[in-house]
């Protein structure tokens, strides 16, 4: 649907599925300095507060979604040494076991890659305007936001900014 791609940063919102292999290639090709690649995939699971989830409908607020995701990725780039980053979020109708979201980060060192990947997910879950509606055998219902996602995000606000560290080990 929308594709925002600079040489090293890729932010995409789309209905279609994504290929982990293609994203790995984007994160790693012709990048001999990237010693670490961390990737995360979020999938549709078959349970939540309601049992027997059969699928999801993912709604979003176009234009604001892109702005929000760009802002989150921008913060991650200021905080960690990121060589390439790929962020894909699907919208529309999804079934159990479908992939929903992808975050991949390549960096010289694993700490930057792990932390940046988690930071992007934690902020995306609490800031980016996406909404999930679950389908079950007994009907459809909007997913409620969870306190634990808010806490996961707040954790970053109290942590020291690694960009201010002088000694960056492996």
């Amino acid at each position: 649907m929308t594709d925002k791609k600079s040489e090293n940063i890729k932010i995409v919102i789309q209905e279609k599925d994504f290929s982990i292999e293609n994203e790995y290639y984007f994160l790693s090709s012709n990048l001999p300095g990237a010693g670490a690649i961390v990737t995360f995939v979020g999938r549709v699971r078959d349970f939540s507060e309601r049992p027997e989830v059969t699928g999801l409908i993912l709604e979003h607020y176009p234009l604001m979604t892109e702005k929000s995701l760009s802002g989150i990725v921008g913060q991650a780039r200021e905080r960690w040494d990121i060589q390439r980053l790929s962020l894909i979020h699907r919208v529309g109708e999804l079934s159990v076991e479908d992939q929903i979201v992808y975050v991949g980060v390549s960096s010289a060192h694993r700490d930057d890659a792990f932390e940046a990947c988690r930071f992007v997910m934690d902020y995306l879950k609490t800031e980016a305007p996406f909404w999930k509606k679950e389908r079950t055998s007994s009907g459809e219902a909007w997913v409620e936001a969870r306190e634990k996602d808010q806490r996961a995000r707040e954790r970053w606000e109290t942590l020291p900014d690694p960009a201010s560290d002088h000694d960056r080990g492996m």
Partner: protein, 82 residues
């Protein structure tokens, strides 16, 4: 005339994805929120401060932010992506 757009549960419960309201601009987010609570009194809880977020021109706003003529204004529930 100010157009307010709705998403997700707010849109579903109101059975509409936008409303055009007669309100003098500039006005605050809080003014618009109160207007919507009155307009949809059966669903006023959908516009409570701890539930609905207001975005102005695609940026999350706070209650004191001002809305001007021509701004894109949206109200939506807590986000649940990822």
């Amino acid at each position: 005339m100010l157009k307010i757009i709705f998403f997700a549960k707010i849109k579903d419960n109101l059975c509409r994805d936008f409303i055009e309201i007669e309100i003098e601009t500039p006005c605050s987010v809080s003014d618009v929120r109160n207007y919507l609570k009155n307009e949809f009194s059966d669903h006023h809880h959908l516009f409570s401060e701890d539930y609905a977020t207001c975005a102005i021109n695609h940026e999350i706003s706070n209650e004191k932010n001002m809305i001007r003529k021509g701004d894109e204004v949206a109200f939506f529930p807590p986000v649940t992506g990822g």
